[in-house]
């Protein structure tokens, strides 16, 4: 952006020059700008000598008043814009490229709405915003250096993109190549910082005036919060933040009016209802169908109307686990009509891939459904597909595809199904439900039998871990804020999840390192909503950016983190073992249990000490299953007092 005419009373470059000069004055050996290299420096005086009058004045005297910015600082106006949207928190790692906005937020804005939360890593800040949204339904703002900080943040943004989570990220950037400070600030500048994340953000902008910023920020919020949700990015020029408002700028903050989500086409909805009503064995598959608790209510209505099995793939809490229509993934095999709502992978819902090394190593693909099965899809993601990253998955032919938001379409679909069900079908539909009640009860017994196996094993079985935990929280208004790392899905299989906030889904992009920051962010939201937050925290995930533990302690975010510490990146252990077997080779494990490079042992990490060092109450390692319950009870008392607590539990691999 070409440098704009400067306000007569303002020259941020001189301000910076003064800052640099002051720094130079403080350093005895600094060579003044313009000094010839050939000039020999004067001999340094012995340090024991008293300071000269000039030095003493510089160190003890009252500094001259710095030139003041005349008028309203641009970043103060930006704070007004941000405040208009009711954003409660701003998790961020501080960075000079947004220093003017930072100063306005905490001094002009009073550090309220949003409140600045100190983060150790930009990926942690984004992860916190990710978790916060899923617990509260409210997006957060985060700030970062436009180059180095955004690179740190990018993995978190990709998770948010794949998980359809809204958040706003602002990257500070100094566009004026002729006048920006040389050295580090120029290393931290770029022509187009948003290019780095454009493939996995819904929208981005680079405002060049304050009025432009106002429009850009409100537009960013609006786009982010219109289904399909997604992260948005703004590149924010350092000069625009620092300089005052110009006389010609209007300083108007646009009013935010939410956009209605897209609803399925009437004809397509009717056709879907006709197929579902006439089906012998309809199956509903949901992944991110419920954007809110009301989405769950609507799905229960639709399922009961049809007495159709519901497979909840679990990226959100879509359907009560205690409902008799809740079914396993294999239920698709007997379906004659399948409706998928906001599925992240429709192909894999109705097909299987077996990684068995066949066909030259690429594995086997096969269908999981009958040839004549009709497929219906409602997915808002079809409205927001990009080319580069492959989160859209394999192509699946659909008979009735709707590019629409599932939750917004459900009321119309329910009414259409009611109209489409013929009277002579009602008995058959009721019988379908009775059969499913029996199947559900039998499945629950099998699941409990499976959980009982190795109940007393050490390391502790994942079933025991999960049920000891549930036993202690069941009477609280609990929220399982993250369960990254695979504990054989025991919480989903055995915890009676019925409320929307009891299960918040997964990372979206399977970028490891989501669990810890998302847990802290969700726990922050739950703190304000009076809920008890619990996380099943895996070891590898925590070590990507453990500094978020400090953020939780610093801002008094109550969270019970129970570790699934299997001492490995276990998924990778299985991958390497698999390939070795395909090649008929013995796997080299070195001195570890798993293949070299996949274990987190020798030495074992003492996560409880790590957490303690950052202000958490923590205990471990817990290897004896009999000691787990009492430790959880003690930790819960700590969390109830408003502090985070961590238990380092040694577990079975899965």
């Amino acid at each position: 952006m070409p440098r704009k005419p400067k306000s007569p009373a303002t020259d941020r470059r001189k301000f910076l020059t003064g800052f640099v000069a002051a720094g130079a004055a403080a350093g005895v050996a600094t060579v003044a700008p313009g000094a010839r290299a050939a000039d020999p420096p004067p001999p340094a005086p012995p340090s024991a000598l008293p300071p000269s009058g000039k030095t003493a004045e510089a160190e003890t005297g009252t500094p001259k008043e710095l030139p003041r910015v005349q008028g309203v600082p641009g970043s103060d106006f930006m704070v007004d814009v941000i405040k208009s949207l009711g954003i409660k928190y701003l998790p961020a790692n501080c960075a000079s490229s947004y220093r003017a906005l930072h100063e306005s937020l905490i001094n002009y804005g009073g550090n309220k709405m949003p409140e600045f939360l100190s983060c150790m890593h930009e990926e942690s800040a984004v992860g916190m915003a990710h978790g916060y949204f899923k617990a509260s339904g409210k997006p957060l703002l985060t700030l970062c250096h436009g180059t180095v900080g955004l690179q740190h943040a990018s993995m978190g943004l990709y998770n948010a993109w794949c998980d359809r989570v809204p958040l706003i990220i602002i990257g500070g950037n100094d566009l004026d190549a002729a006048h920006r400070p040389p050295g580090v600030p120029t290393f931290h500048s770029a022509q187009d910082i948003n290019a780095l994340v454009r493939d996995f953000t819904k929208w981005d902008d680079t405002p060049v005036s304050l009025d432009h910023f106002a429009q850009s920020f409100v537009r960013a919020y609006k786009i982010s919060m219109t289904p399909p949700y997604g992260p948005v990015a703004i590149s924010l020029d350092a000069g625009l933040q620092q300089e005052p408002m110009k006389k010609h700028e209007q300083g108007v903050v646009p009013r935010y009016v939410p956009t209605s989500p897209p609803q399925g086409d009437t004809g397509a909805v009717k056709e879907a209802a006709r197929l579902l009503a006439a089906a012998q064995n309809p199956v509903i598959v949901v992944d991110r169908a419920a954007r809110t608790a009301n989405g769950m209510t609507l799905l229960v209505q639709l399922a009961e109307l049809l007495q159709a099995k519901v497979i909840d793939q679990g990226s959100r809490m879509n359907f009560p686990r205690t409902h008799y229509l809740s079914a396993q993934p294999g239920a698709v095999s007997n379906a004659d009509v399948i409706i998928g709502m906001e599925l992240s992978d429709f192909w894999a819902t109705v097909n299987s891939f077996t990684d068995n090394g066949e066909h030259g190593g690429i594995g086997e693909n096969s269908t999981r459904i009958k040839k004549e099965t009709k497929l219906i899809s409602i997915s808002s993601v079809e409205l927001n597909t990009k080319a580069n990253y492959q989160d859209f998955q394999r192509f699946q032919v659909i008979d009735v595809p709707m590019a629409a938001d599932a939750e917004a379409t459900l009321p119309a679909l329910i009414e259409a199904v009611k109209s489409a069900i013929q009277n002579d079908r009602k008995d058959a539909i009721a019988k379908r439900g009775e059969a499913q009640k029996k199947a559900y009860a039998e499945d629950l017994v099998r699941t409990r039998q499976a959980a009982a196996i190795a109940w007393d094993a050490s390391p502790i079985s994942t079933a025991r871990l999960c049920m000891e935990l549930y036993g202690q929280i069941k009477d609280l208004d609990w929220s399982l804020v993250a369960s990254e790392g695979n504990v054989s899905n025991w919480p989903n299989r055995l915890w009676p999840m019925e409320k929307y906030h009891q299960w918040l889904g997964r990372s979206g992009g399977y970028g490891v390192g989501y669990g810890a920051p998302a847990s802290v962010g969700a726990a922050l939201a739950n703190r304000d909503l009076g809920r008890f937050s619990v996380s099943i925290q895996s070891d590898g995930d925590l070590m990507y950016a453990p500094g978020v533990l400090w953020t939780a302690a610093r801002h008094k975010i109550p969270l019970l983190s129970v570790m699934h510490n299997n001492r490995s990146w276990h998924q990778e252990a299985m991958h390497v073992q698999r390939v070795a077997n395909f090649r008929n080779r013995v796997t080299n494990t070195g001195n570890d249990y798993g293949p070299i490079g996949t274990s987190i042992q020798n030495p074992d990490i003492e996560y409880h000490k790590l957490a303690e060092s950052m202000g958490w109450w923590a205990r471990g390692p817990i290897k004896d299953p009999a000691k787990l319950g009492p430790a959880i009870k003690e930790a819960i008392a700590v969390v109830k007092s408003g502090q985070p607590a961590l238990l380092n539990v040694w577990t079975q691999p899965r």
């Binding site: 993934p329 077996t354 196996i453 190795a454 079985s461 000891e468 069941k474 695979n486 299985m574 070795a580």
Partner: protein
């Protein structure tokens, strides 16, 4: 712990009926070559179970999980297991004799047999909440 979970979590891990039938047929054919479990060592078998990565999908106690079925207690017949692991074309990768000897396999089987019956879930209060 990395999580590309969907790869292993899909029902594709189940063998098709045809494949099961083929394994049953192979079991009959190969029954004579099955290692003798009675001469095997459960202690050595536990070490082999870990060394060869069986624990990765089935757990240290063979309890199973989303990545692999339960192996113990009460393991299936050695003849079935032997044929299955030598010839698997499913999610379970095959273990040829070059990487898992008959003797090691027999020891592993002895280890699985040595794992005691656990509690009935009905007697575990936490599983009846």
């Amino acid at each position: 712990m990395k999580n590309h979970a969907s790869l292993f979590a899909r029902p594709a891990m189940r063998l098709s009926l045809l494949r099961m039938a083929a394994i049953a047929a192979l079991s009959i054919g190969f029954i004579a070559s099955v290692p003798d479990a009675h001469a095997a060592s459960a202690e050595n078998g536990k070490a082999a179970f870990i060394k060869n990565g069986c624990w990765q999908c089935h757990g240290f106690a063979g309890q199973g999980g989303v990545t692999g079925p339960t192996l113990a207690p009460s393991p299936k017949a050695l003849s079935f297991i032997s044929v299955f692991i030598r010839n698997s074309h499913g999610v379970m990768p095959p273990y040829q004799k070059a990487i898992l000897s008959d003797a090691d396999l027999a020891d592993i089987y002895a280890y699985l047999q040595s794992i005691p019956q656990g509690k009935d879930y009905k007697n575990i209060p936490l599983l009846n909440q």
